[in-house]
Symmetry: D2
Subunit: 305 residues, 4 copies
Amino acid sequence: MSEQAGSQRPHVGFIGLGRMGRPMVDNLLAAGFQVTVHNRTRERCEPFAARGARIADTPADVARDADVTITMVADGPAAEAVYVGPDGVLAGLGPGGLVLEMSTIGPELARSLAERAAERGAQLLDAPVSGSIPAARAAQLVVMVGGDAAAVERARPVLAALSREQHHMGPAGTGAAMKLAVNALIGVTNLALSEVLVAAERSGIARAQALDVLADSAIGSPYITYKREAFLDPDAVEVFFTVRLMKKDMRLAVDLGRSTDVPMLSVALADEALTLAAASGYGEDDVVRMADVLRARAEALEASR
Amino acid sequence: MSEQAGSQRPHVGFIGLGRMGRPMVDNLLAAGFQVTVHNRTRERCEPFAARGARIADTPADVARDADVTITMVADGPAAEAVYVGPDGVLAGLGPGGLVLEMSTIGPELARSLAERAAERGAQLLDAPVSGSIPAARAAQLVVMVGGDAAAVERARPVLAALSREQHHMGPAGTGAAMKLAVNALIGVTNLALSEVLVAAERSGIARAQALDVLADSAIGSPYITYKREAFLDPDAVEVFFTVRLMKKDMRLAVDLGRSTDVPMLSVALADEALTLAAASGYGEDDVVRMADVLRARAEALEASR
Amino acid sequence: MSEQAGSQRPHVGFIGLGRMGRPMVDNLLAAGFQVTVHNRTRERCEPFAARGARIADTPADVARDADVTITMVADGPAAEAVYVGPDGVLAGLGPGGLVLEMSTIGPELARSLAERAAERGAQLLDAPVSGSIPAARAAQLVVMVGGDAAAVERARPVLAALSREQHHMGPAGTGAAMKLAVNALIGVTNLALSEVLVAAERSGIARAQALDVLADSAIGSPYITYKREAFLDPDAVEVFFTVRLMKKDMRLAVDLGRSTDVPMLSVALADEALTLAAASGYGEDDVVRMADVLRARAEALEASR
Amino acid sequence: MSEQAGSQRPHVGFIGLGRMGRPMVDNLLAAGFQVTVHNRTRERCEPFAARGARIADTPADVARDADVTITMVADGPAAEAVYVGPDGVLAGLGPGGLVLEMSTIGPELARSLAERAAERGAQLLDAPVSGSIPAARAAQLVVMVGGDAAAVERARPVLAALSREQHHMGPAGTGAAMKLAVNALIGVTNLALSEVLVAAERSGIARAQALDVLADSAIGSPYITYKREAFLDPDAVEVFFTVRLMKKDMRLAVDLGRSTDVPMLSVALADEALTLAAASGYGEDDVVRMADVLRARAEALEASR
């Protein structure tokens, strides 16, 4: 761990330079933090080295180097891979270390990682984010944090460089659970929105106008506004949230329901509908393609008569 | 029909003095319209008579009396009852008459009523509203109108006294279809929100805090804010939207899907979940009771082990 | 009505010479009944005329001519068309007449037809059949009858020429309801069977062997045996039960659930899965194609990774 | 391993003296096999010791003692517990040993156990059974076996003492998969049967008569006959198949669908409906209680109007 004077900013380690991770490191550098980065494929580290970041060879090295280590990887299995083994984050963690696990993982894994960090005298918070790539770029993410309150305060300056809001939800695992709750609601809304848009369209209402009325209604959320252009022309916009990734979140949310005995009726259905979209060839497309799946089915059904 | 000078406000007829209709008539009177009212049970008319409204004995009489006749009743069968027969609105309608059907009914019935009005030389618009009782009181409803564009312009001054926005969606039936689309999305959201709130709660997250984070997220809509208090303490708040009424809307939306060949997967599920809530004794309670149904089931399941 | 001596066989009228109706008339003629036939398109009557049947111009004429009139048409709307109007069965029915409505229709329509027959002094039984075309050919159908017990006894000699079993279920409408119960169970089984066959197949079990084990198990029904060849090679066998027809039965069964407050969870799902099969282009194919739909989806999902 | 002359019967080890295991050991003893038994709670072994069986202290001891070791335990976790560790079956297995895993477990665990047995030079077959307690008593079970064909032949004399049929389905895991396919179809049928029985009943058809007609129809399976008395009076009959156990099978079958990319639509729904039944307090009751759950819901829904 680097020396850290009272007024000095903590040295931040960052593991996982994917589509979310890269703009987050940009923001940490812009905020003046010293940053050590690691990525499974080293090339992605180099642009950051050119801007003053150190490159570490292993996750363990990052954790040895940094005061606060952030991990931002694809999913639970990727997180396991980054944490365990002789080169893993846990191996490099010493007493007083602090880790922020910001990937979308299940609460059980989050609690297990926190326990393993505690065994080494360190602290780990589950701190997943809400908000897509544009929000990451603008440092406007929302962070949901689970874990020890003092550790959350210690993490806040780092998190503040990445996000507009940091919600401390409760003990270890509650950040992960809250993230799944948010994304589950998004996933179900995406399905229901697709259903009603296609039904409205086939009733004679222009899709743009239906979106405007919905956005202006009691159920109008930023999601509807963000996705407006994509629902109108999926080919014309950048893909921010793929069917495959949303499906992964739905599966985790269904598992959350299993472990808490709560019937996630609508979430399980959204999972199933996303499976249908993936099987229709839209796995790597944006989730707005759900409307295309339903429309194609309506047209085929009409043609079958 | 009353005489109507160029600058004079139209004489408005209003049929259906239920929980939504009464504040709407208040607003028409406050806006200076001459109003004739009718209700199946006459007592409800009297407070309005005291404030200058005429009372008509039958729907037909209202239509004969008024330039613009509004109907605001419970559902499709109630609308049928108000429109047909020797005492019905249609019997009283003459050439040049204008009717605004503002109840929540299916688009097929809306189109059929419009055709029957046209046979008498009159015009009927389907003009259901979005917004609950407080919005009706504040004249902040949103109206979705289906029918002839010129007739919509003619209706606008009357609608403006009741609502903050009047969306012309397209031909006859599209107002009704849009209303079902909005309410279907609300119904599915209510189910998914209940699922994730209870799962979050059973994961250790306070319900109030979960609601705050959701309201602040990409999926945060006015609905979540409106229902915050009710989800926290259903006994403490006025019932605005009952399980029975929401279930009726879901059924209409499922029927819209049938007629347009669109699989309303999530809407059909929400319908089924509301049936479960009604069977659990919550038919006349607010729809936030869905969370109670899921929580009771989780607790029973836990206890069964 | 023809004169009818004590020992004489009743004169039978038969309306609806479709794929089920034709072999049924064959069996009535073979059993020695005098038969009057009617069909919407007259050509279908002629082969029977060549074998001694009379041809009637209208359903009303059939009912006037016959002691016992049988109707066997496609569905509820077709039944309505055959019964009402100046040329309909009801118009030709006189006191003492007996009608057997053997189509698959909802119990509400069955009760309504029975009431209208009673108004004319006649009796109508709902008497739908279980069994496919081969069973019709072999006079091995099973009849489920709703209505008056004495009328059922009067109908029995005619029904016995068509079926191996005649179950009197109870009052008017119970025959129709029982038929829907049987077919609903077939529809759900067809879906579940398709699911487990494809899952077994993708686990390394030959489909033929899976069918053999299922047929030999506690859940082994004649349906599995009848459909064995079709599940193994849908192109090689005659289509007996199309997706479109099964879907119609599921819809009627769901409506039966609505009217009796019973949640037809699995039946509604089977209805939805059949819609998917119809939208995949299998509307006029045999219901065993459900397995193809699921297999195609599994293969597409696998390929999408 | 005991010596085994050409004509000598193999020495059979049996682990798991539950409701299925006990009658199976009865049949092995009756068939003249030498048997060594083990059970987690030793008391259950003693009645068999009185009839000549040896008692082993650990699963490993059973495997050391026997030519053919049978395990028949509650589920996957119980199987894991019996197989692994220093006292587990695997620890006692030597070259040439043969194990028959007859519990209901997932195919993945079955394959994993087979691999671990092979590492010790032994062979393990997954050989779950179809048939309830009465079939176990009568040695009329049906066994579905996955694994090496020669090993299946070697196992056949032992299996023949327990069952009326032994189906070799294919390689390791296919016995387990086939068992799940059979039970999934039973689970869905149980739900659909409950739905149609209650709907028929509420349409005026006596439940006994509906069961008779269904049993006599194309969809009539032994399951309907076996469960007839239980559906008519659940309190009057022995509980053979609890909601909790069927739910466990449905979960395994849903997982089979996940691993083979097959959408187990109806099986997942049956799982959910069984959860509802468990949450209604029927976890340890027979699965025929599903009809009670649906009837109670219909009655509550009717009363809520």
